[in-house]
């Protein structure tokens, strides 16, 4: 069941200006770059497409076309146009196509690629290396997820988005394989949690010293863990994020904070008010991915949350 929650809309949290600014920055052939270049970025295009779809659902066929055109025949997507390698953005693209209810078959091809893709430690040789020889970073190599690009290990953010994409797309038709990858990915996230809660890129303890969590990784990991049993680890991470949210002055981190806390039914109005002040009309935010995420955060409660998972 998709949850629409009514919240009191504060008129000062106007996302119209930022959305106009984002649309003004759309590349001539569709899609968005990070900031000013003509090179379409898949991450930016996915987040911007969510923002446009949230305002104009009817624009789906037009606005997802650059994404569909960018898909490789093997089902994956690159990081940017011109790059010939598959990347983690495949998970984000599937989420967008879930939102657009795309029926072109692109999602199925993307999911098939995603289910076949592992972090490098999924290979027995590297798993044993990490178990026996390379113990500088504390983690359980049996719990693996998804890499940023082929040939690298599993990391928190690609794994979290992959879990969300698979959970969303297979909500009504989960297979043994999709269930297994979701559980393995969830186990990997829980294994990589920082002491005291929250996540960073995926190294929680190095040489016996605990490293600090990051806001964005924590928010995205929590989005992936929605619907999972509220273990003490998840509660501690949620508590860490709430506490950290009180003094974030960065648009990107604050936006992800709002998107995540909202799903966990935590109050976000005061955070949205602060975000609206930071964003203004959006003109000063050069990073289009950040601008798009901010628009989604400002619209929280007035749209179908792009990363909400059916239960």
């Amino acid at each position: 069941m998709i949850v629409y929650r009514s919240i009191h809309h504060n008129r000062s949290m106007n996302y119209v200006g930022p959305l106009q600014e984002l649309r003004r920055r759309e590349l001539p052939r569709g899609g968005w770059s990070f900031s000013g270049s003509p090179q379409m970025s898949l991450e930016t295009t996915c987040l911007a497409t969510f923002s446009v779809l949230a305002e104009q659902p009817s624009s789906a066929p037009h606005v997802v076309r650059p994404l569909l055109n960018a898909q490789f025949s093997g089902g994956s997507w690159p990081s940017f146009i011109g790059d010939g390698e598959p990347s983690w953005t495949t998970a984000l693209a599937i989420c967008v196509l879930n939102s657009a209810n795309d029926s072109s078959g692109a999602r199925e091809r993307g999911l098939s690629w995603l289910l076949k893709t592992n972090g490098r430690e999924a290979n027995w040789f590297w798993r044993w290396k990490f178990k026996l020889a390379d113990r500088a970073v504390r983690f359980d190599p049996d719990c693996y997820g998804w890499p940023w690009i082929s040939g690298s290990a599993s990391w928190v953010i690609p794994t979290a988005f992959s879990i969300i994409a698979i959970k969303q797309f297979t909500a009504c038709n989960r297979s043994d394989l999709s269930e297994r990858r979701i559980h393995l990915g969830v186990d990997m996230l829980l294994d990589r949690v920082c002491l005291g809660g929250g996540w960073n890129s995926g190294n929680s303890v190095v040489y016996g010293v605990p490293l600090r969590a990051h806001v964005e990784s924590t928010a995205i990991a929590l989005l992936a863990l929605q619907g999972e049993e509220r273990t003490p680890v998840i509660q501690a991470s949620l508590g860490w994020l709430k506490q950290r949210s009180s003094n974030i002055e960065s648009v990107e981190s604050l936006s992800w904070c709002i998107l995540s806390l909202f799903v966990y039914q935590e109050p976000v109005e005061h955070l949205k008010a602060r975000l609206a002040t930071l964003v203004g009309d959006g003109h000063d935010i050069r990073n289009n991915a950040t601008l798009a995420t901010a628009i989604l955060a400002l619209k929280c409660g007035e749209m179908i949350h792009p990363f909400e998972v059916l239960r």
């Binding site: 770059s33 990070f34 900031s35 270049s37 003509p38 090179q39 970025s41 991450e43 990081s79 940017f80 011109g82 790059d83 990347s87 983690w88 490098r120 500088a136 890499p147 940023w148 690009i149 040939g151 690298s152 290990a153 990391w155 953010i157 690609p158 960073n200 890129s201 190294n203 190095v206 040489y207 010293v209 490293l211 600090r212 990051h214 806001v215 964005e216 990784s217 974030i248 002055e249 960065s250 648009v251 990107e252 981190s253 990073n287 991915a289 950040t290």
Partner: protein, 329 residues
């Protein structure tokens, strides 16, 4: 002479292995050499970060003969995390360097960095205190993790990567200044001007952290990147340095020095000596000394203060005890 089949196959395999090993040793691993007969290094004494830093830096820069008139200058500081302590290159030094290069006639100064762990670059800039140095001046910050990219064939082949996607801002710069924080590093031993260049490798392609470089060897990747993106000048922030479990969790170490150099190997070798390390034991420095710059002290002209070793060498994690120089210079 009768040669049976087993003997023939064994001999052929042996010859192939020998030829392969010889080719590996003899085949040049780099297609460029930036090493000059002599390199210039200036160690500036600076007890603290203050408003006087800019004047000190300007005096130091004027000891060197370089021309940035009309050029696009890229300052590449080490901005890693929004953490307290001496994790990042101090913003006062970055801002002072930017203003100095503008005063020296640079057409444009960009500060570029692509943090390796923290995806929210804005958070790092805020924590580093860099914003006031950007406001209202012709100094722009470029997030190298998200810049336009171009595919570049690497000019050395230690890592086996062959090519990398690199940011346009880096490739279009006329004068690249590496501005490291002097720190120990739990994977590489030290992080100085050469290791600092990991930050030009874009996260949008390679992720956070830039894991592919680790898989291909940290020292090897450093050599390939520095061969491909030559460092023209170094300003190393060693006023408050980091020792122990760097680059994030180490302890502050008051070194009280800024190191300037027209050669990254000479700069890093000098910093290593100041830290009480033998630069020849740092893999990327000893190999870099063959083609990226001068490692040996007798090929480095000191323009300002002499190297005086620290009263006690920098602390390192046990894995790097071998870096400690037998006699402190």
């Amino acid at each position: 002479m009768n040669v049976d089949r087993r003997c023939f196959i064994g001999s052929a395999a042996g010859m192939a292995a020998t030829t392969g090993a010889a080719a590996r040793c003899l085949w040049p691993k780099h297609s460029v050499s930036y090493r000059r007969p002599r390199s210039l290094v200036a160690i500036l004494n600076a007890a603290e970060y203050s408003e006087k830093t800019e004047a000190l830096l300007m005096d130091g820069l004027q000891l060197f003969r370089f021309n940035v008139l009309g050029k696009m200058v890229l300052l590449k500081p080490n901005l890693v995390e929004d953490l307290p302590g001496p994790v990042n290159t101090n913003a006062n030094i970055i801002g002072a360097a930017a203003r100095c290069f503008l005063r020296l006639g640079a057409a444009r100064v960009a500060i570029g960095e692509g943090p390796g762990h923290q995806r929210d670059t804005e958070l790092v800039i805020q924590a580093a205190g860099l914003k006031p140095h950007l406001a209202g001046r012709q100094i722009e910050f470029v997030d190298l993790n998200r810049d336009e990219l171009a595919r570049v064939k690497l000019k050395a082949n230690y890592s086996g990567l062959g090519e990398l996607w690199l940011p346009r801002t880096v490739l279009d710069s006329d004068f690249v200044v590496s501005m490291p924080k002097v720190k120990t590093h739990h994977w590489a031993g030290v992080t100085l001007s050469m290791k600092n260049m990991f930050g030009v490798v874009p996260g949008m392609k390679y992720g956070w952290p830039k894991n592919l470089l680790h898989w291909h060897g940290i020292h090897e990747s450093i050599l390939d990147i520095c061969a491909t993106v030559p460092i023209h000048f170094v300003i190393a922030d060693g006023i408050t340095a980091m020792e122990g479990n760097g680059p994030l969790q180490g302890a502050a170490r008051e070194l009280g020095r800024i190191v300037l150099a027209d050669d990254p190997v000479a700069a890093d070798a000098t910093c290593a000596r100041l830290m009480g390390f033998d630069p020849d034991r740092i893999q990327h420095l000893s190999e870099g000394g063959r083609f990226l710059g001068n490692l040996l002290a007798d090929r480095i002209t000191m323009l300002a203060e002499r190297i005086e070793g620290p009263i006690r060498p920098f602390a390192v994690i046990p894995e790097f005890h071998y870096l400690l120089a037998r006699t402190v210079p």
